[in-house]
């Protein structure tokens, strides 16, 4: 019950096994979120991000480990915790058949605000989220971005000091994503503590003060975005060759220039190094001497994607907008994502 710590959210050694399929969703996850900051929980599908959020928001009990929100245990004091948290999910958990205003009022009433307070709060929040005009329309008529905003608005009805956002921008177009990021930044500026799960490294980079990377239910890295990038070296040298065969050959030749193994992706070779310009020149010389033609050379700062790749051995599974557009146009169904998997496992 100590409220003295500056951590609004603390979790120690959380373990959760879903009996169906014997999935070890969480295998000893610990984390802490400083009051008034954003912690980014990063990881691919199925890493356990949503399970962490569901435990912290009292929806699911951990098999072992403890977690507390502002000093209140999420299992023993679940009811108190529910009064101080807000939850907005990846699957805009809103009622399609109600209007935006009715949705917010419903959540207000169920958060035990008075009828009057719920109505006033609905009006304020609709305005703050640019939904005043759409407020009395049934949600079926809302766009994806509007739904997410409404979902977030509903999570804020009771002015929770701690907010959980589970992949808040997954599936949104770039503009809506930018808008939502602005809203989250405003909230944090106002003192809210946020735990945000995301597959988008760019999102964590922009919003989070600290980042935790999870994979297969374990924390595999943590730190400030800059620290994580620094662990990788200061720059990435990317050489583009004519084809994959050439790339493999080139990778073998330049491997000795970096203490990290070169990464080959199709016809590009990437080296993460401390001294980019010098290594770049070395790469050119080495390949020229071996008479391997170079199609392109680039020098860049490592992105969180690079961090992710080097930590997990696989790329972040967030698809690009182009990929999504291509998939949608084929009429394929939405890819099952982590929370769906978790949800069914848990059911």
């Amino acid at each position: 019950m100590s409220n003295s710590s500056s951590f609004a959210v603390e979790a120690h050694d959380l373990v959760k096994v879903f009996p169906r399929g014997n999935v070890r969703a969480l295998d000893g996850v610990s984390l802490a979120v400083q009051e008034g900051t954003v912690l980014g929980l990063l990881g691919p599908n199925g890493a356990g991000k949503t399970t962490v959020v569901r435990i912290l928001s009292t929806i699911l009990n951990p098999d072992s480990g403890q977690a507390s929100i502002l000093g209140h245990d999420v299992v023993k004091e679940a009811e108190t915790v529910r009064r101080i948290i807000g939850l907005a999910g990846q699957y805009a958990a809103v009622d399609e058949n109600l209007t935006g205003r009715e949705n917010i009022r419903m959540v207000g009433r169920l958060s035990h605000l008075s009828r009057k307070a719920s109505s006033e709060r609905a009006t304020d929040l609709l305005e703050a989220f640019g939904l005043t005009d759409a407020g009395d329309r049934v949600l079926k008529t809302y766009s994806g971005g509007m739904r997410r905003r409404l979902d977030l608005a509903a999570a804020l009805v009771a002015r929770p000091p701690v907010l959980f956002l589970d992949e808040p921008t997954t599936g949104l177009d770039p503009q809506s994503r930018q808008d939502l990021w602005g809203v989250i930044e405003d909230l944090v500026a106002g003192g809210t503590t946020v735990l945000l799960t995301t597959q988008y490294l760019e999102e964590a980079d922009r919003l989070a003060r600290n980042i935790i990377v999870v994979d297969h239910g374990r924390v595999i890295a943590e730190g400030a975005p800059a620290e994580l990038k620094a662990t990788l070296g200061t720059s990435v040298v990317a050489v583009t060759l004519n084809d994959n065969e050439m790339a493999q050959k080139a990778a073998a030749l330049v491997a000795s220039l970096s203490d990290k193994a070169p990464l080959v992706d199709h016809n590009t070779v990437e080296l993460t190094v401390q001294n980019g310009p010098k290594v770049g020149a070395d790469v050119l010389r080495t390949l020229d001497a071996a008479q391997i033609p170079i199609a392109g050379l680039a020098l860049r700062e490592p992105s969180l994607d690079d961090v992710f790749l080097s930590l997990t051995g696989h790329k972040s599974e967030a698809e690009t907008d182009e990929q999504r557009t291509a998939r949608m146009s084929k009429g394929a169904k939405r890819r099952p994502s982590e929370s769906e998997t978790d949800g069914r496992d848990a059911a």
């Binding site: 529910r82 939850l87 999910g89 169920l110 703050a128 509903a154 000091p161 909230l187 106002g190 848990a346």
Partner: protein, 274 residues
Amino acid sequence: MTAITVPTTITSPAPSGHRLRWVIADTLTVTWRNLLAYTRIPEALFFSTLQPIMFVLLFRYVFGGAIPIPGGVPYVDYMMPGIFVQTVMFGAVSTSVGLAEDLQKGLIERFRALPMARSAVLAGRTTADLVRNVFVVIIMTVVGYAVGFRIGTGVPSYILGLLILLAFAYAMSWGFAAIGLAAPNSETAQVMAFPILFPLTFASTAFVPIQTMPGWLQPFVAHQPVSVVVDAARSLMVGGYYHSSSSVWHALLWIVGLLVVLVPLGVWRYRKTS
């Protein structure tokens, strides 16, 4: 954006006293939400009202003529209590489907993270279905009258009959709620409800006298809850040859028994589904 800034200090939690008051308030909020949702899909409302009307017409004009019944009353009088029970039983499937949908859409997830009463999600759903059933039996009474049904007893007795079958439907809703929570999605919830629905509704005294059925089937038909409730409703609505005080008491016993079993079952299922 001043409206979305929040204080860093915790807003002092509301006093947790008056627990029952919150259970009732939360249940009413969820009921309100469910009833509102009904009105937002007028098509569903229209067709779910049309279905029982079609059953009345079907049994009155198509099957009715071929079904001889004892007691010297017109078949329309015999069948109306049966159709009432069949309708509310079929209506209870919407409890399954509605909850499965809420689960699928993540709405229940949101409810779980709110400081609301745990029981309110199910209580609100079943209460909304009860309110809907009240409208359904009123409409069916009107349609029944239009096709020749007449109350054989008296209005108070008839209303008592309606109350018994509404209470039965309410109890069954809790059972169907458990099915809805166990189902992977709303389509499956509907299919899962049918194997319970069909034998209970049709292997009953709702439409056909028990004497016409094979001997091995009769004990089941005579004692299963739908028959007992139909017999009770018939006793209170038609009377005369069909008067049977014991079936009324049996029906009440069944309703209490079902509530005692199905309410905890639904709540248990709700707690388990996380």
